[in-house]
């Protein structure tokens, strides 16, 4: 009897997804609603607070540091994703060639992506540290810069540094994903293009690029979402400094909610990521749906 009921397609389907739905309702949807509620109160770590409507959002929007963090987040995201796209695509094309120790090289290249981000970030922090910076040592030895550069203490250079570290971490993901896309392209297509007289550049433009485009777009959207919401790299390198020059929305919301103790305002700050994230999420959702149906 029981096995008959379970064998019903509808019952079985619902039974199999029910635990996941319950988990996500309780520990994603519910916390999200808690965040919305806190954002509408003047809650602190110590007090539960009272309802203040959109007060937090208004305050945050008028706050110079918030505006700067929003700008920083955009610069950080656009800068890092652009670099990751260029390096990742280039690296994928290189890895698609035949050369000795290819498997080992491919494994080595994935390292920055695979190890705990904060631990890799600590190696970079150490390389950027004033007085003992190995990068500055090499710059001085090669005569490029006698004094070295203030990697994390100059506001503009600090933004450059966090972008470089994010690029370092994310490039392997792009490269390996695109490489898998490249390897899925049937070789006959290249032969056919060559017979039609297409040169290297034409083959890249009219065969390679259109065929890796779906993979490339997916990895770009994911990379943009993760970069936009990144916390570990900025927290590990600068904690948002110097003078908030590298504060991004994730680190600002952490600082506001936990260091300063204003959980309501912190929740409001993190929720302001949604208007930018949602269109990306919806766009990606539509693309995935189309590919599942097709």
């Amino acid at each position: 009897m029981l096995s008959r009921i379970v064998d019903n397609e509808r019952t079985l389907g619902l039974l199999l997804v029910a635990p996941v739905v319950l988990l996500l309702a309780g520990l994603v949807a519910y916390p999200l609603s808690v965040a919305v509620y806190s954002a509408l109160t003047d809650q602190t770590l110590a007090e539960s607070g009272r309802f203040i409507g959109f007060g937090n959002f208004v305050n945050v929007w008028d706050d110079q540091i918030y505006r700067q963090s929003l700008r920083n987040t955009l610069v950080f995201t656009v800068g890092s994703v652009t670099l990751k796209l260029c390096f990742g695509l280039g690296l994928a094309l290189l890895l698609n060639e035949a050369f000795p120790f290819r498997r080992l090289v491919r494994a080595a290249i994935l390292l920055p992506w695979i190890v705990p981000t904060v631990l890799g970030t600590m190696a970079w922090l150490w390389m950027f540290t004033p007085n003992f910076s190995v990068i500055n040592y090499v710059l001085a030895q090669t005569g490029i810069s006698k004094t070295g550069l203030p990697w994390l203490t100059d506001p503009d250079l600090a933004m450059f540094s966090v972008i470089i570290v994010n690029t370092w971490r994310g490039t392997p993901f792009l490269a390996i994903s695109v490489l898998a896309g490249l390897q899925a392209i049937p070789l006959e297509l290249y032969d056919a293009a060559a017979i039609d007289g297409a040169g290297k550049l034409h083959r890249f433009r009219y065969v390679t690029l259109p065929l890796v485009m779906p993979v490339l777009l997916t990895t770009l959207v994911l990379s943009t979402i993760w970069t936009f919401s990144d916390f570990g790299i900025v927290y590990g390198l600068t904690k948002g400094g110097p003078m908030n020059a590298t504060h991004v929305l994730a680190t600002l919301s952490y600082g506001t909610a936990l260091s300063a103790g204003n959980t309501g305002e912190g929740a409001a700050i993190s929720l302001t990521m949604l208007p930018i994230l949602l269109p990306l999420i919806i766009w990606q959702l539509r693309r995935v749906r189309r590919s599942v149906v097709a």
Partner: protein, 284 residues
């Protein structure tokens, strides 16, 4: 004539393949070299400007000894292993059947549920950690490793479900249909026919889940504050720094040891890993 073209070809390869590849390797792997070199130096050599810092002059295991004797590194490692193991197992137990249901079974709400699971996968953890602290406190799991055991499946399960759903779609339905004709129930066909075929997909989902939980940072930082309950990424950077001062030797030793397990796991499964990256178009 042939010799000339051959030489041109070699030059071309050196310039357009090996040179950029070498630069990429230098950029991507260089920091790990620096991590290892620092971890193996004595403190005297780390902070001595007199000779080149680029190699180890007096190799020493002092920093590793310090890590094991003077910090909670062993506890952090055990914690990280426990959290990663429980995260991997629970996300597979929940996510694999759900992925099967989404890929194969027609039931009311299947589209909506699939969409909702995908959206939660894309919602970043830095958006959820503030209310999560409160939710965990409410159910009495503040400041304990159990908070991570409960919370990690929230980002692992959506990912595993989607990866598995797209993997199951690549397995022909005829196989389980013939099994059903032979008298197997749906569940029986899934268990005896589909799951064995899906082993590579399950393996790559497991590898992803393991590395994602091993590497997780923001929840581990905010949900757990007692040193004995920390994981490696948080423990290492919190206990080995005082404000702006860092204990670079032990810190790099800890970073190195904290990276080795995941590096080993994926070195052996790199092909699975690479194919999994694109299967669901998802993260590692």
């Amino acid at each position: 004539m042939i010799a000339i073209t051959n030489r041109r070809r070699t030059l071309e390869r050196a310039f357009f393949l090996y040179l950029p590849l070498g630069l990429a390797l230098f950029f991507l792997v260089g920091p790990f070299y620096w991590m290892a070199v620092t971890a193996l130096k004595t403190d005297g050599d780390i902070y001595d400007g007199a000779h080149s810092p680029l190699y180890v002059l007096h190799p020493s295991l002092d920093h590793f000894v310090y890590l094991f004797a003077k910090t909670n590194f062993v506890t952090w490692t055990l914690n990280t292993m426990a959290v990663a193991a429980s995260g991997t197992i629970s996300s597979l137990v929940l996510g694999v059947p759900a992925g099967y249901a989404l890929a194969r079974l027609r039931f009311p709400g299947v589209e909506l549920i699939g969409t909702a699971i995908f959206v939660t996968y894309l919602v970043p953890t830095s958006l959820l950690f503030i209310p999560m602290i409160q939710v965990m406190a409410n159910i009495g799991l503040d400041d304990s490793i159990w908070a991570l055991v409960v919370v990690y499946p929230t980002f692992l399960v959506p990912f595993v479900t989607w990866l598995m759903a797209s993997y199951f779609r690549t397995i022909p339905t005829e196989l389980e249909e013939s099994g059903r004709i032979d008298g197997l129930t749906r569940l029986g066909a899934m268990w005896h026919i589909v799951l064995p075929l899906a082993r590579p997909g399950i393996l790559s989902a497991g590898i992803f889940a393991f590395t994602l939980s091993w590497n997780e940072f923001i929840y581990a930082l905010t949900l757990v504050t007692a040193s004995s309950e920390r994981t490696i990424p948080v423990g290492v950077i919190v206990q080995l720094s005082r404000g702006d001062f860092y204990f670079w030797g032990p810190l790099m030793a800890g970073a190195l040891l904290g990276s080795v397990p995941v590096a080993l796991v994926y070195y052996f499964f790199v092909d699975q890993y690479a194919s999994g990256l694109t299967a669901g178009g998802v993260k590692g």
